[in-house]
């Protein structure tokens, strides 16, 4: 049986169909769950083997991207999501989903995610000062993260965001993320060398070129880029030059394989 995936549809989610296609290709059975259906008890997190928070503009990014969706997660589904995560089931938040995971405190989790009751990490406005849509190159790093485990090839896919700049006000947190192998993906130059903050290889100014992080257990991944938009050969921006790879698909395949083993 293909693992079932719950695709959370918040008010303003818009890459829900994109991830559904990616997950289907990766061998999962996606089910759409509007937030209101979850609130009304028509669907339950616990019935699914994977959870995905797709990209979009929940609540139109009012008061900061992902912020109000994060509030919903904490207000309505705090325990259900905590149980889901604690069970080790794969969770992935992409773009707006990542922003919500960070602003709800689910990511990065661990010791330094919340200090004195305040979140110590954020995804803030891009250094360039505007929304940007362009293709980037990602190096999978974490071997703890079940989504990036065993991957070493560069993943090519688009970013499409205005608030993807990963920052912290706590240096220890960064040290901790590195030492606990929670940095899942980083931005690189096309040849795979680190972006080192160079624009546009690092499109938003994120610390340490961070494109995605996972929780200490490695089952929850959040990332700004959109691997779900590089799952077909013709999506590659240079497919007419003979380049392709569908390199976004491997992340989903990893997650689905892991869920199938649970």
């Amino acid at each position: 049986m293909n693992p079932t995936v719950l695709i959370l549809q918040a008010h303003g989610t818009n890459r829900d169909l994109d991830v559904a296609e990616a997950l289907t290709l990766a061998g999962a059975a996606p089910v759409f769950a509007p937030l209101n259906d979850l609130r009304a008890g028509k669907k339950h997190f616990s019935d699914y083997q994977m959870l995905i928070l797709p990209g979009g503009f929940s609540y139109a990014d009012a008061l900061g991207a992902g912020k109000l969706l994060a509030l919903d997660l904490n207000s309505y589904f705090n325990e259900e999501i905590a149980t889901f995560v604690a069970a080790g089931k794969p969770v992935i938040g992409i773009c707006n989903g990542f922003q919500a995971l960070v602003k709800s405190g689910i990511l990065p989790g661990g010791n330094w995610g919340v200090v004195n009751g305040n979140l110590s990490t954020t995804l803030t406005f891009n250094q360039q000062g505007h929304f940007e849509c362009r293709w980037v190159n990602l190096q999978p790093i974490s071997q703890k993260c079940i989504w990036t485990q065993g991957l070493d090839e560069i993943i090519t896919c688009p970013v499409s965001h205005g608030e993807g700049n990963f920052q912290t006000n706590h240096q220890l947190l960064i040290t901790n993320l590195v030492s606990s192998d929670q940095i899942a993906l980083t931005y690189t130059h096309p040849d795979g060398s680190p972006a080192n903050g160079d624009y546009p290889a690092n499109p938003n100014g994120s610390l340490l070129d961070i494109a995605g992080i996972c929780n200490p257990a490695g089952n929850v991944l959040g990332l700004m880029p959109h691997p779900e938009n590089h799952i077909h050969p013709w999506q590659h921006p240079r497919h007419t030059r003979g380049e392709s790879g569908q390199s976004g698909l491997v992340l989903f395949e990893n997650g689905v394989k892991y869920a199938a083993r649970l």
Binding site: H11, G12, N14, R15, L17, D18, E21, P34, N36, D37, G55, G56, F57, Y59, A60, D61, A62, L63, G64, K67, L68, L71, D72, S75, N118, L119, S120, T121, T122, T124, F125, N126, Q127, Q128, G129, H130, F131, E132, C133, R134, W135, P158, S160, Q167, T168, N169, H226, E228, N229, I231, H232, P233, W234, Q235, P237, R238, H239, T240, R241
Partner: protein, 959 residues
Amino acid sequence: MPIHRFVVRFTAPDPRSAGFLSDAHALGFVGLKSITCQDLYFIEGQLSAQESQRLALELLSDPVTQEVENSILDIRESNARLSNAEVSIIEVALRPGVTDPVAEQIVRAAHELGFDGVQRAATGLRFKVEGLSAAQVEKLAKQLLANNVIQHWTIGEIAPSFPEETQSSGEVEILPILELSNNELLDLSKDRRAALDLAEMQAIQAYYRRIDRDPTDVEFETIAQTWSEHCVHKTFKALVAVAERQLTEDGQTVHRPPSTVNSLIKTYLKAATDKIAAPWVISAFVDNAGIIDFDDEFEISFKAETHNHPSAIEPFGGANTGVGGVIRDVLGVSAKPIAATDVLCFGPQDMNPDDLPEGVLHPRRIQSGVVAGVQDYGNKIGIPTVNGAILYDEGYTANPLVFCGCVGIAPKGKHHKNPQPGDRVIVLGGRTGRDGLRGATFSSMTMDAQTGEVSGASVQIGDPITEKGLIDVITRARDLGLYTDITDCGAGGLSSAAGEMASVIGADIELQDVRLKYPGLAPWEIWLSEAQERMVLAVAPGKLPALQELCDTFDTELTDIGVFTGDGKLVVRYGGKTVLELENEFLHEGIPQRQLSAVISNPLPVSNNQRPAVSGLDTEHWSLLPFKDKLLALLSHPNIASKAATIRIYDHEVQGGTVVKPLTGVEADAPSDAAVLKPIGTRGTKGIVLSNGINPEYGKRDAYKMALAVIDEAIRNAVAVGADPERIAILDNFCWGDPKRPETMGSLLEACRGCHDGALLFGTPFISGKDSLNNEYLGADGLRHAIPPTLLISAIGIIDDVSKAVTMDLKSPGNILYLVGQTVDGGQWTVDGQRSTVPDVPATAPAAYRALHQAIQQGLVRSCHDLSEGGLSVAAAEMCIGGRLGLELLGTLQAEACFAETNGCLLAEIAPAAESDFRALFADLPLMKIGAVIADPVLKIAGEEIPVADLVKAFTGQN
């Protein structure tokens, strides 16, 4: 009730403030040292100090990057404190009634957090400005920081405006019309900004004399809206007397149109579509959008709208709601929106602010606002913006043009427009406010210096997330067969939407049931409001519960406002009392046909409008420049140079279907000819191609040839990426001046005639169209500022296999470059505009495109790019930029021919092994081998060698 004031500031320098600083410097505020932008939130309600602290940290700020100062609002005290400060403080807040979605979210989220004492909220901006005199600060506020149309501002602290609570109003005014003289009729039209002429006012008077009573204000406003140019296209349906004919320069007789033309639409546009009779056209001209066949399962729809007048006075909101409006057009044919296009025309960005007509925003500000408005709506609703253009001309300074297009896809046979007696009149989506009143009539008038102030209510800010809810609900309701008719609420609001749906069957509507944003609206305001994000559906009572359930799931409001009756009459009530009762026949057929005269002169007199000077170069000395300087100047010309800065802030990847992206090539910085999409959820290999053609420079000279040229350009662009030339449909969008002037009407008529002939030449039918007339600005100087006659042709085509799509970047050294078509040396349009003969479309073009398409189908073409502005030289340069490869062109190519703008031409890169097959396809058609791709990144052209790095720098402005 206390008002809590929160100021949120970044702890480190932030990009938004930096943006304001650079904009201010560009506007000439050179003394400005620094500017800091902060967010203001006002929350009315009972909150303890601890609660307001929690709101500040948990809701209103990002504790990692920001800090918050909160206080109880006390303006007098704080402004007294500020009076001696060295930095100036300017605060900006929205005017009452302007949509403030963030404020709504604050109240909702505060309640979710358990702060039940929160009642109302408002937002604003606070600017700290250093280095300007008091007078300059005021000027800065007006020119950059606030827009008077939607915002108010003060020096110092501002009082927030919450939606005004006024008494509920059921007031209906009776407008005595029966005894009015002709002058008084015209005064009435003017007073109510109805934009009706004497014949139309007389027709209204005659109707009311016949039924022997005076109209209510609701009725009068409804008639004005229904009969507005925007809604009924009276110019395009007018009886036109063609008053004059002329000879061409060489003494030949111009093609003579009949001395009268009865309806431009029927005579030229629909006529072309009817004559072509393409079997794959499913719906043309009748519905909200044109519809064509896609594959066995799906049909695709396409529509382009303009939102020019609103964008002139409030660029962000105008463009924002322009995008929202055209998306609803596509929803109105029950389709899921899958792509957006936008074509924008602005005044020169480097214009001296002192040269602006009074009341006109600076073109730079208009552009940044419009682009931000398109970005905001398209990105948030999740529709990729994949094709467009940006053009600059002084003629657009006071009248920017904002064309918004949208493509939709729907399963076949699911869209119905057949309301049944007893069906309910259902409004879905946003609530109704005083926003956008009289937009339909406003868009049909010439603007003047006061327009911004008087018509402030005509502009709204969009709410894309609410419209996303509409997409979610309507596409599902369609699949479940829950409605019998659907239309969008655009210009004219409920009056237009419900009025149109009831135009045959009749309806009885209760305005008190319409959900309002705030009380106090008069019945006519409710009926005419153009509040955004609303759709009207006809729903059988038995299907209502299922629709309600969908609406609950997707946070969309459903309101039942009446019933379709079956008696053919439109009755509108307020609290049971009839406020409108009109015969459908009078309302929809009673408008007298407009009588207009046209003067056709060929070529058109050349106006004073010139292209913006070629980047700092004097066009007078153009002919003396070395070739290389000419080419680099062209590549960096605003109309040709890279639009990457705009393209990249639009999401062109969402929905995962973008096969050929707006930017392409090795470094993704070269301009694609057209977009190719493979819609998610479709089987097979088919894709959609989107392109456009527009050339106001030709429009100034010869409207007929311009129409042919831009049809050719749109088709050429589509064919270049792989569209089947036999499966392309087009949309027309005319933006013209005041058609009551015979010369203007003459050029409009000529453009329509060109559309007809162009469509027939290529066998390419029109499936929808739109006009925006009266794009003129009566300056405080008493002079008319009109736009160049501008026709946008938007093309939608089919490509059978998206994996065969071709991009314009050079692929491999050793490949051969062919010129499809023929450039004509001499006598043609050149970039300095000195020789102003608009080029003809060669008769061989359709056959050449078919041959090229066959070559693409057979995989013979490695890259392909069309020749447009700047001719062969610019096209070749762009291909080099795309591939970061060089080209060696024939030494025999004359420099002059390299810049000539000709129609029907493309460059195609062919591998040597494929050459003979390629040539065979062209047989007798014009085709010329003109060079070869070389590994050395140098463009060898007209005896010069230009490094590709120089081309890149000129085109992108970057090394």
